[in-house]
Amino acid sequence: MITVASCPVCSLTFPPGGAICPRCGGPLTPSPREGNGRVLAATELYAPAAGWASLHRLLLVELEEGGTVLATAHQRLPRPGEVGVVREDVEHRWVWHPAGD
């Protein structure tokens, strides 16, 4: 389960924290999502920024309930098209888990 910010006016989805939609100015509202989704793109970063471990994995995940989110993956790099679930970790980062995990 993750909580995104969604705009009731233009239906776009954003990370939490904002008050107004950056696109249309509509009021952003917290929207819980199950986090189920399909990987749109995934990369392993071999030269991460200072303070991050290598390999660092980043994904774009299309959520079943609408919207695309950025997430990390801890265990392995999923393939585009693979289904799984995005959950929030203790540091409030969104982490992808393979289906059934």
Partner: protein, 382 residues
């Protein structure tokens, strides 16, 4: 009245020992020395740098550069627009000149990046992403990798196909005396270079670099000779790549900027005869070609393979070698592109000269496509 380019100056790009203000002054001094005597006393100075303090370890760049140039009474402004800073500084300079308040405006824009380690420079550049993306450890190359992956998948291309871009740009850059990389590379070298962020390899990615470029702007009659500014365009998009309403197979900000620039110049894309586009990552050049309307969606690779963008092609693209050959000191790249277009229009590009173009375009990507710029220049007179 319209705004004309009186003269330009470029430093050599690559690892430089000088501090940022000295690089900016070096480029500016070259522009001033190349200017006709009537244009040498700039009344305004626009300085561009994306991250003067964290990358270049300096602040108050305007007065520092003014002092180095012995211009103590010039009006100074500092401009920042991430990796499009050089283009943004140029646009501000043009607007100052066209306002009528100043007859002569000097723009100098650059960056000093090699004083930091690569991981530190990478972390610094990642600050131009959204806070959420940065909090997930995203970097410019990793976000570019995700965009590239979607682009390649949607158009049925492979990353091996994209080596074409690096090979052609590095071949062009071998003729550029200011480029950081002046040696050609083969497709095999591109495709076996070390991985940076899958699918992007080292030779798909422009290098951390130092350098600066400067332009002296004057006002002139619309029908005057020389190189004039025909059109400026800026486009913005949502900062958060994942939240954008369309799939990341192109940059809405480039399409918006191009439309505005074409409209202001009263020309269509088919009238552009030379272009310098933002190839910070090799797949971006294909995206740029499509966003600028030079070819249809997904057609960038075929257009490139057909030689249309070669120096002898119908529309030479990055005859300077682009960012992939020149290096990418983030605050310098945008103005360097404009300077290279200016030199093409004047017929003064030396071994890089690509025909005798009369209309040229430069396109710069700010951040990960969040604020992009298009500049159109034209050659007046016979």
């Amino acid at each position: 009245m319209t705004v004309a380019i009186a003269s330009t100056g470029l430093t050599r790009f690559g690892k430089r020992s000088e501090p940022l203000d000295a690089l900016l002054a070096e480029a500016a001094r070259k522009a001033l020395e190349a200017a006709p005597s009537s244009a040498r006393g700039p009344q305004a100075l626009v300085v561009g740098a994306m991250a003067a303090s964290p990358l270049g370890h300096t602040e108050s760049l305007g007065p520092k550069v003014a002092n180095l140039l012995a211009l103590p009474e010039v009006d100074v402004t500092h401009v920042e627009a991430a990796s499009a800073t050089g283009a943004a500084a140029f646009h501000v300079g043009v607007q100052l000149a066209s306002s009528g308040r100043y007859d002569r405006v000097l723009v100098t824009s650059g960056e000093k990046m090699t004083a930091l380690t690569n991981p530190d420079a990478t972390a610094m550049l990642a600050r131009s992403l959204s806070n959420h993306e940065a909090a997930h450890g995203a970097t410019m190359p990793s976000m570019a990798a995700l965009v590239s992956q979607v682009y390649l998948f949607r158009h049925g291309l492979t990353i091996e196909d994209v080596a074409e871009v690096t090979v052609r740009n590095r071949a062009n850059g071998s003729k550029n005396p200011n480029a950081q990389f002046q040696t050609p590379v083969t497709p095999e070298e591109v495709n076996s270079s070390r991985m940076v962020s899958d699918p992007l390899r080292l030779l798909h990615v422009s290098a951390v670099s130092d350098g600066a470029g400067a332009v002296l702007l004057t006002r002139t009659a619309p029908e005057g000779e020389g190189v004039r500014v025909l059109g400026l365009g800026q486009g913005t998009d949502l900062l958060e790549v994942a939240s954008r309403p369309t799939e990341p197979v192109g940059f809405l900000a480039t399409r918006r900027a191009a439309r505005a620039a074409y409209d202001e110049a009263h020309i269509g894309r088919k009238e552009v005869q030379v272009a310098e586009v933002h190839d910070a990552f090799a797949p971006f050049q294909l995206i740029d070609l499509e966003d600028l309307g030079f070819c249809g969606s997904g057609g960038g690779l075929a257009w490139t393979r057909a030689g249309r963008g070669d120096p002898s092609g119908v529309l030479p693209v990055n005859p300077s070698g682009g960012l992939l050959a020149r290096g990418h000191p983030v605050g310098a790249s945008g103005i360097a592109q404009i300077i290279e277009v200016d030199r093409q229009l004047r017929g003064e590009a030396g071994p890089m000269q690509a025909g005798r173009p009369r209309v040229g375009l430069a396109q710069s990507v700010g951040g990960l496509g969040s604020h992009n710029f298009v500049t159109i220049l034209g050659k007046g007179g016979p």
